[in-house]
């Protein structure tokens, strides 16, 4: 039986144009293959046309005209997403003006979650980073990759902990100081200096280190406190954690050395 919510899950792939059932509202492509091709087309259309020996690209070259049409569709939709992004960033913690209330008893207007949409938009903006982590060998040589993994394992752990703390009613000062020290040690470690310039999370790491040090410095005599993340920061951390989770395993904080 078709429901009004079906438009949430019955989607048309923005790359190949095929209809597919999306497990999540935010899905735009029917497969990883289509997602990657769309990424190449957006970021380097010439590579897409010339690099036709690539197996992934070859499978879709027959649909090239279709792809061109769908790309315009993508741009139209992407434009909307970006404009929503601006709105979401401004209003994420306030009212969601896009939400349409159910007014008619016979029609159901699905509600959109500004928080989930903001995560999806953050992931879209970090699409390049996601591809770097999905296909690391294409971007980093073996020795650089070892450095990237060393830092990323620790970054993921720290982000997981920050998100956990942000959900807690009360965070022990000692636990937060451990986290802050870990950030400081990580940035002072020799591996941090060896990070490649294209590593996508260098700035985030520096920002988190500065912010956590600032908070730790302001605690003074408090033994515990309520650690809060702004909506934008939380969205950014959830998106980054999600990307890292596809690339590296989760390791316990106690099992990690942040210095060397």
């Amino acid at each position: 039986m078709e429901t009004n919510n079906d438009h949430l899950k019955n989607k048309t792939c923005l790359n190949c144009g095929n209809n597919f059932i999306a497990e999540r509202i935010t899905k735009k492509y029917c497969s990883e293959n289509c997602k990657q091709i769309a990424f190449y087309k957006r970021n380097n259309p010439q590579t897409f046309l010339l690099n036709n020996t690539n197996e992934l690209l070859l499978t879709n070259m027959a649909n090239h005209n279709q792809l061109a049409i769908n790309d315009n569709n993508y741009k139209d939709e992407h434009k909307n997403v970006l404009s929503f992004n601006d709105t979401a960033r401004d209003n994420i913690a306030v009212n969601d003006k896009r939400t349409v209330a159910t007014t008619d008893n016979n029609t159901y207007q699905p509600v959109q979650s500004s928080f989930i949409e903001a995560i999806a938009v953050a992931l879209e903006e970090k699409e390049q980073a996601l591809f770097m982590l999905t296909y690391p060998q294409k971007y980093w040589q073996a020795d650089t990759l070892a450095t990237v993994k060393w830092i990323s394992i620790r970054l993921r752990n720290l982000i997981e902990n920050l998100l956990r703390f942000s959900n807690y009613n009360s965070t022990e000062k000692g636990s937060f100081k451990c986290l802050t020290n870990a950030f400081t040690q990580l940035i002072a470690s020799p591996y941090f200096n060896l990070l490649p310039l294209n590593y996508p999370f260098t700035n985030l790491l520096k920002q988190l280190e500065q912010e956590s040090n600032r908070i730790a410095g302001s605690l003074k005599k408090k033994s515990s406190f309520r650690f809060k993340l702004s909506s934008n920061r939380k969205v950014q951390l959830i998106a980054t954690r999600y990307m890292l989770a596809g690339f590296i395993p989760l390791v316990k904080f106690s099992e990690l050395n942040f210095e060397k």
């Binding site: 429901t3 009004n4 919510n5 949430l8 899950k9 497990e23 999540r24 509202i25 935010t26 899905k27 990883e32 969601d96 939400t99 209330a101 159910t102 008893n105 016979n106 159901y108 699905p110 509600v111 959109q112 979650s113 500004s114 928080f115 989930i116 995560i119 996601l130 999905t134 998100l163 942000s166 959900n167 807690y168 009613n169 939380k234 959830i238 998106a239 954690r241 999600y242 990307m243 989770a245 596809g246």
Partner: protein
């Protein structure tokens, strides 16, 4: 305690604070009966029991909408791109 109508389907959901407002919009817009069963202060979530009338035209859609949110949130918060 009021008897539960025969056609009602009652489900309990653990709702994270991050999307609580979005889910409350669905609950209130559709006049769904709900009951806060527990608040997990430690993990910023609450356990909400929601009653859906299976014969109501919009309730099954509202239920689907709520479950989409929870599924998406859980995917982004705990999952990875490998679990597409």
């Amino acid at each position: 305690m009021q008897p539960i109508p025969k056609n009602n389907n009652i489900k309990s959901y653990t709702i994270p604070l991050d999307i609580l407002i979005d889910i409350l919009k669905i609950v209130l817009n559709n006049n769904l009966d709900y009951n806060i069963e527990a608040i997990n202060d430690k993990e910023s979530s609450l356990l909400m029991q929601i009653s859906f009338d299976q014969t109501h035209i919009n309730h099954p859609k509202a239920k689907e909408n709520i479950e989409y949110f929870l599924n998406d949130y859980s995917h982004f918060f705990y999952g990875s791109p490998n679990e597409q």
